[in-house]
Symmetry: D2
Subunit: 281 residues, 4 copies
């Protein structure tokens, strides 16, 4: 029986780059991590070790730093589109380029209501993300956010579920709903204002999460996805991953005290994991 | 335009379980992390918050612990198959169950050539993995390993690659090849001896990596995949992920010394990322 | 030669607790991790396995959850003081209690300038910390923050340093200064407003970092420590740990481009590590 | 009130270095992470930003790579001693040097009972460590290991402990004892065979852990420390940190099943934390 090399790809991951953009009245500081992945006609590298068609991952890395000087001036989407185009146009063996970028947020310090000229605070878990996939015929832009920790202390319950011999969970009309939200959405619009849209979609996600009367994580997930699509014609589809980071009521009754939904064990594992994609038909 | 809920799933992740199996002459200690994921007819949970068809992820967790008493006695594949079957048979709304298991290895201590009765050492980064996917019609078993750190100090080069204006990498016939190997393969055999096959495939991966005269990571990847398929008729396909964890020659020349491939900067990021799937036609 | 058991301690670490405090107009959500450590007359537990004087770490954990209901209503310092007092008063063998608390910040969401009643965003790397050490005679409160990522894009240089045969670093009047600040300070005041002081000290640290014309990390460290002591009579001593998280100028010259302090390689390792304690004489 | 700069130090951390040592019949591969910390007369760097006495941390890093070529040929202790001596002899302002080294273990692959010439497996959590502290008058060598995961499935109990109103833990004569052992010991011998001693002490720690009839973690800790001191005259003192990584009996009774110490919840947090130092009088 003959063996075949099927899907294969290579590239450089975790190209960590920072940039200072000097504006007239302040410095803008940006930090990103870029992944490059190339697919194409690389069979001879695998079969006979002929690297003639292989653009080294070290060169890919250099390219990101070099192109960032002129072309990383705006959103990660705009930069990713430029980079993807560069790789596919300059490397005939390449049939598909995937550029993934994570942006690490830094915000300017503010003192007495004034933003400082050149000092920043970082460290938020939440990251802005984008993935650009380009072939000879098409370009897809899927953007999003990840590791956004959000929590609500009420307006969330879980009742009326299926029960079997292993069910011990108590139904509750009022629990903590905590999640580490990951969202990715696909743009259909050509060259929209990616940063403005990101800000608007993020706000919609937060607002829907905060205001929803949640009967289940599943219900809130759909509500968040629908809100984003209803309010943004530029988006064709959104995928949400909402791990349920459980805060478990601590049993105070054993010490003669009542726990009126006050004291919880904050846990990391195990966790529920609820995912879904909402799309226009 | 109408919105639709497309692919969606839910389940419990990171169900961390350990078990003591008491054999006549020694104790066997096993530790696993189980993920359960269910797909099926859960639309009303999303649309109107009706949880009647939802088996809580807490119940899923309890089920894993309860079933482990009688049924986790052998390989993670055998346990995973039992568990997948349980969920699909007992929950009519479920159309697909995915059970993923990671096993954390513990090895018995040995003193003076004798294995100890009940003491173990753990902590290896390498994990054995399996994913069972079951629907009404089919069961797929994909097993593997991940986070296997392997390295060779020679018999690896990288030359003759494509060059452009951003290329600075020097060609070399002799470099360190270090990777954090992830491999997953699909079994076609029904009820093979999963543990014996795992041990044999792992050995083939190591041996091929060690003995290959590597002209590129790509070439070694294909060689490893082909060797596994050639030696194991039970396997139909294998996917390998071989990040290139660079050990970069330190420039000793600047201090008037020669670096004869001796002293390296061990780096984590950025890293090359080479992946590929080898399959029977 | 006789052997002695010298310093020894035991306790429970990573007691992860969350609490909802229901105020008339909003919910307050708090999340902390508590470590308890006890020292005292525990020799017989070590020597003959007599546990009669040992308060199990499981009981310590229960105690934290139980006491949190009534007594975790304000700062982590106030709660830590109550807890330390509880353990030393109720356990005669204990000669010293150390309670360490890390607070994970959650901030209320705001929409259209209004704070939401019960929805929060978390995920900041920065944590507020305190360590309470209580003996029969004394109580010490050392508070602080850690994992505060701060960065400035200018007003930082490094020149005029000692050089030897292994020096290759170029002197520069203008570099990025990035650090993951850890600060701990000791209070002399009895029962001050810990939260107000924390806010004020944090602001002083940020402001000094932002405004200082830094000739070295060492110089900025001393300036930050002095500013805190000068402005806060309640503090007797402050220790700062300022790892130098290097952003290294990428060599664009090799591609015929000039890098006017714009494009950097963001690195995690290796990192400089500068520490110092500033104290009142 | 005058402010003083008290204890301060600076240096480079996480200098990640790998080395190939070419022996006649095989390659030896070593990987270490080195921290350098200098203390001394650096006041003017802090007070007026005068860096004349400051050896840049970048130079420290270069020095480690350069010295490793000739001098990292044996144990991490021998290399650390050479490096510490280099820094104190060549930098008059330095009064104390601390060199900490962590070694990441790589073991040669073996096929059919034969060790391979140049292929290795890594990834063990356990690390060998050393800290060398040198002043004008003295050198101290403290070596050890960390992140050694060990576990026993029996011969461990916990009974007869102190109880109060918050105690819910059940006494048990038979439980899992799992720990992530950290041990550090101080050598009094001059230039012993550090690697032979390390191997012997590690074996004693494992053997004592395995064979001890444990009435408490505290008792096993003392037994492990005493065994090391009793068998190794070269060691004056040993400190052990034995976090109690709980495997908690899962309640199968609620499902009508008996849990005969078989099925456990493997937890990471919270964890007991037991530490102690054993010393010669």
């Amino acid at each position: 029986m003959k063996l075949t090399l099927k899907k294969n790809a290579y590239g450089k991951n975790a190209i960590n780059l920072s940039k200072i953009i000097r504006h007239p009245t302040y410095h803008e500081f940006r930090q990103i991590s870029v992944n490059v992945s190339l697919e194409g006609d690389f069979d001879t590298a695998h079969t006979i070790g002929d690297n003639a068609k292989i653009l080294p991952t070290d060169t890919q890395k250099n390219t990101i730093y070099a192109l960032a000087k002129e072309h990383f001036t705006d959103s990660i989407e705009t930069f990713g589109l430029y980079v993807a185009n560069h790789f596919i146009n300059n490397n005939p063996p390449v049939s598909q380029v995937t550029i993934s970028i994570i942006e690490h947020p830094w915000t300017r310090m503010a003192f007495d209501g004034e933003l400082h000229h050149h000092a920043y605070v970082g460290g938020a878990s939440e990251k802005r993300t984008t993935t650009i996939t380009q072939t000879a015929d098409s370009v897809t832009v899927t953007s999003g956010l990840k590791d956004l920790l959000i929590l609500k202390t009420t307006d969330s319950g879980f009742e009326g579920y299926s029960k079997d011999q292993y069910t011990t969970l108590k139904e509750t009309p009022d629990r903590i709903f905590a999640t580490q939200c990951e969202a990715t959405w696909t743009y259909t619009a050509q060259h929209p204002d990616y940063t403005a849209l990101f800000t608007k979609i993020r706000e919609t996600l937060l607002k829907t999460f905060a205001h929803h009367k949640s009967l289940s994580v599943q219900q809130t997930l759909l509500a968040m996805g629908e809100a984003v699509l209803n309010e943004n014609a530029e988006v064709s589809e959104i995928t949400l991953k909402l791990p349920n980071k459980h805060h478990i009521l601590f049993n105070l009754e054993q010490f003669g005290m009542e726990n009126k939904n006050e004291i919880f064990i904050a846990t990391d594992e195990p966790y529920g994991y609820i995912t879904g994609t909402v799309s226009r038909e």
